[in-house]
Amino acid sequence: MRQAVACLGNRYRGDDAVGLLAADRLRAIGVEVQECEDEPTRLLDSWAGLDLLVLVDAVRSGAAPGTVHRVDVSSGTLPEELGLTSSHAFGLAETVELARALDRLPKRVVVYGIEGASFAAGAELTPAVAGAVDEVVAGVLGELGA
C-alpha cells in the first residue's frame, strides 16, 4: 500500500504553524512527511498512484480553536466553510480539485483541518490549537494503520 502524509502551514503565522508542528511530531516517531510552506501544487507529482494521502492544515471555519475536522475528500470536495484556501490563491482545496481533474488524486484522500484562531505574522500559537496536535497525530497514525 502506497501512502503519504503532507502537512501544510507557515511557522511564522501564528496558528498556521500547527500543520507543521504535527509534521515535526510525526517525523519524530518515524513517519515520513511532506512539508509544504508554499503553494501546494508542487506536491501533485508525488501524489499520483498513491493508495492513501493524508493532508494536514490549519483551517478557519468559525468553530472553536483547536477543533479537529476530518474530511474524506476521496469522492467529494472540501466543504467551503473550512476556508481551506491559502495565502496564494491556489491552496490546498484547489490543489486537491486540480489533482482530481487531472486524474492524479490518490485512491483515498483524508484531510485533517485544525481550527486556528490567530494567523497574524509573528503571533503565538493559541494554546487550544497547540493542544490539538496530539489528536491530529493520533488520527494520522490511525489512517496509516500504524
Binding site: 510552506e37 508554499d38 495565502s87 491556489f90 494567523f119
Partner: protein
C-alpha cells in the same frame, strides 16, 4: 445611469487575519474613489531580524514569501556583502543567477497559468480550466516543476533554499548535477515559447497607462540579481541611493505603507518595467518570442503583462541553459564574509519587481536595524491608478463582469499576497 448604490463583494481567500480590501466607489459615470489595502508590510520580520546575526538574514527573510524566497535571500545577501565589503566571484554570482532563474520559472508559471490565464479564458479557476484544457495545465505543472528542480539542485531545497549564504553557497553543485537539468530545461524553453504564443492569443482589454517604469539595469544582462536602479524618467542611481528617491508613506485608511517616487508619485516595478527598460538585453529566443507575440519595445497595457511574464520565462530558461553550459565548479563555494559595523543595501528583481533591503549591523555582525520594501508595496499606488482607469472605461459592464475586470486588474500585478497580505476582499459601490 442608475444612481442607486450597488455593492459587489469578492472574497478570494478566507483563511487569514490581517486581511486587505479593495473598495471601488462609483457615482453615475464617475469613479469617486479607489482604495487598495493589501499591503501588510513585513514589519514583523524586520523586528525579528534585530538582534540576530547578519548570517541569519537570508534564511529568516526567505520565510516572508513561499513563492519568492530566493529574491529575499539574495537581496539580503547583497546588502550584507556590501556591508562586509566583499564581492563574490563570477562563478558564484552566476550560480545565484541560475537559482533565481528557477524561481522566475516557477513563480511566473504559477501566475501565468494557474492564476491569470483563467481570467482570459473565462474560467473561475485553473481547476475548471483543467477540464477543458488538460494539456495546457499539464504543461504548466511540468514547467513549474522544472523551475522547482533548478531551485532544489542549486539551492538544496525547492522552497526556502538552505544552501544559500552570505558569501556564496555551502556547497556548489557539480557540473554533472547541473548537466542533468539540461534536457528538462530545453523542454522548458520550448514550453515557455509555446506559452508566449498561447497567451498572446488572448483578448486584452483596450487600456494603457502612462507608467513610470522602475527596475534594475545591468548592461549586458537582463536584470535579475544585480544592477543600478533606473527609471523611464531618466533616474539612474546606485541601490544605496534608493531612499533619497523613493519614500514609503503611511496611508490613513489602513495600516498600509504606500511607496512613491519623489517628484513623480506612483511608479511601476515588475515585468512590464523590466521589459520596457531592458528589452535590448533579452536573449535571442526571448526576443523572437516577444516579436512573434507582437510586443513592441514598450508595453503599456497592464493586461498584456501576462505575455511579458511568459517572455521572461523563456529568458529564464535560456539564461539557465547558458549558465549551465559555461559552468565549472568553483574551487570554493563561498568567500569569507567578516562583519564590520555599517549599513548596506541590496536589491534584486523578484518575479514581481524590485525587492529592496537595507540593514545596519555592528562589528560583531548583529543586526541593529532592517528595512524591507517588497515589490507589491511599491506597486500599490499604481494598482489603484490602474483600477481607477480600468473602472472608468468599463462602467458599461454589468456588475459581475466589472467585478471580474477589477480582480483581473489586480491580478495583472501578480501581487505577492503573502508578502503583502493574506486576504483580499473586493467591494464595488455604486451611488
Amino acid at each position: 445611469m442608475s444612481e442607486k448604490t450597488r455593492t459587489i463583494r469578492t472574497d478570494y481567500l478566507a483563511r487569514v487575519e490581517g486581511e486587505g480590501a479593495m473598495v471601488v466607489k462609483i457615482k453615475g459615470e464617475k469613479v469617486l474613489d479607489v482604495q487598495l489595502q493589501i499591503y501588510e508590510p513585513p514589519r514583523f520580520f524586520e523586528a525579528l531580524l534585530r538582534g540576530r546575526s547578519f548570517t541569519e538574514a537570508p534564511d529568516i527573510t526567505a520565510r516572508i514569501c513561499g513563492i519568492c524566497p530566493v529574491a529575499y535571500q539574495l537581496s539580503s545577501i547583497a546588502a550584507m556583502e556590501s556591508i562586509c565589503g566583499i564581492e563574490v566571484p563570477d562563478p558564484i554570482r552566476l550560480l545565484r543567477r541560475l537559482l533565481y532563474c528557477g524561481e522566475w520559472i516557477e513563480s511566473h508559471t504559477l501566475h501565468v497559468y494557474m492564476l491569470h490565464a483563467p481570467d482570459f479564458l473565462g474560467y473561475e479557476s485553473a481547476v475548471q480550466m483543467a477540464a477543458d484544457h488538460r494539456p495546457v495545465v499539464e504543461r504548466a505543472l511540468r514547467l513549474k516543476k522544472i523551475g522547482n528542480d533548478v531551485m532544489r539542485v542549486v539551492g538544496g531545497r525547492e522552497v526556502h533554499p538552505i544552501n544559500v549564504r552570505v558569501g556564496g553557497f555551502y556547497r556548489a553543485p557539480t557540473k554533472a548535477e547541473l548537466q542533468a537539468l539540461v534536457p528538462d530545461l530545453e523542454w522548458a524553453r520550448e514550453a515557455a515559447i509555446a506559452t508566449v504564443s498561447l497567451v498572446a492569443g488572448f483578448d486584452f482589454p483596450d487600456f494603457e497607462q502612462d507608467y513610470t517604469f522602475v527596475s534594475l539595469r545591468q548592461p549586458g544582462d537582463y536584470p535579475i540579481e544585480r544592477g543600478r536602479i533606473v527609471s523611464s524618467g531618466g533616474l539612474d542611481i546606485a541601490v544605496e541611493e534608493y531612499e533619497e528617491h523613493f519614500v514609503e508613506e503611511h496611508v490613513e485608511r489602513s495600516n498600509a505603507l504606500h511607496s512613491s517616487m519623489v517628484g513623480t508619485g506612483a511608479y511601476l516595478v515588475g515585468p512590464l518595467a523590466r521589459y520596457a527598460l531592458n528589452a535590448a538585453e533579452l536573449s535571442a529566443p526571448a526576443r523572437e518570442a516577444a516579436a512573434a507575440a507582437g510586443l513592441g519595445p514598450v508595453c503599456r497595457n497592464p493586461f498584456r503583462s501576462i505575455i511579458v511574464r511568459a517572455v521572461e520565462t523563456v529568458e529564464a530558461c535560456e539564461e539557465a541553459l547558458s549558465i549551465i553550459a559555461a559552468y565549472e565548479q568553483p574551487d570554493s563555494p563561498a568567500v569569507e564574509a567578516v562583519p564590520r559595523a555599517g549599513e548596506g543595501c541590496g536589491a534584486t528583481e523578484a518575479p514581481r519587481g524590485t525587492l529592496w533591503h537595507r540593514y545596519r549591523i555592528d562589528e560583531e555582525g548583529t543586526i541593529l536595524d532592517a528595512k524591507i520594501v517588497p515589490p507589491t508595496s511599491q506597486n500599490q499606488r499604481m494598482i489603484e491608478d490602474d483600477l481607477r482607469g480600468v473602472v472608468g472605461v468599463s462602467l458599461h459592464l454589468p456588475e459581475p463582469e466589472l467585478a471580474i475586470r477589477c480582480e483581473q486588474t489586480i491580478r495583472n500585478y501578480d501581487p505577492c499576497i503573502s508578502c503583502a497580505t493574506h486576504f483580499l476582499k473586493l467591494e464595488v459601490e455604486r451611488e
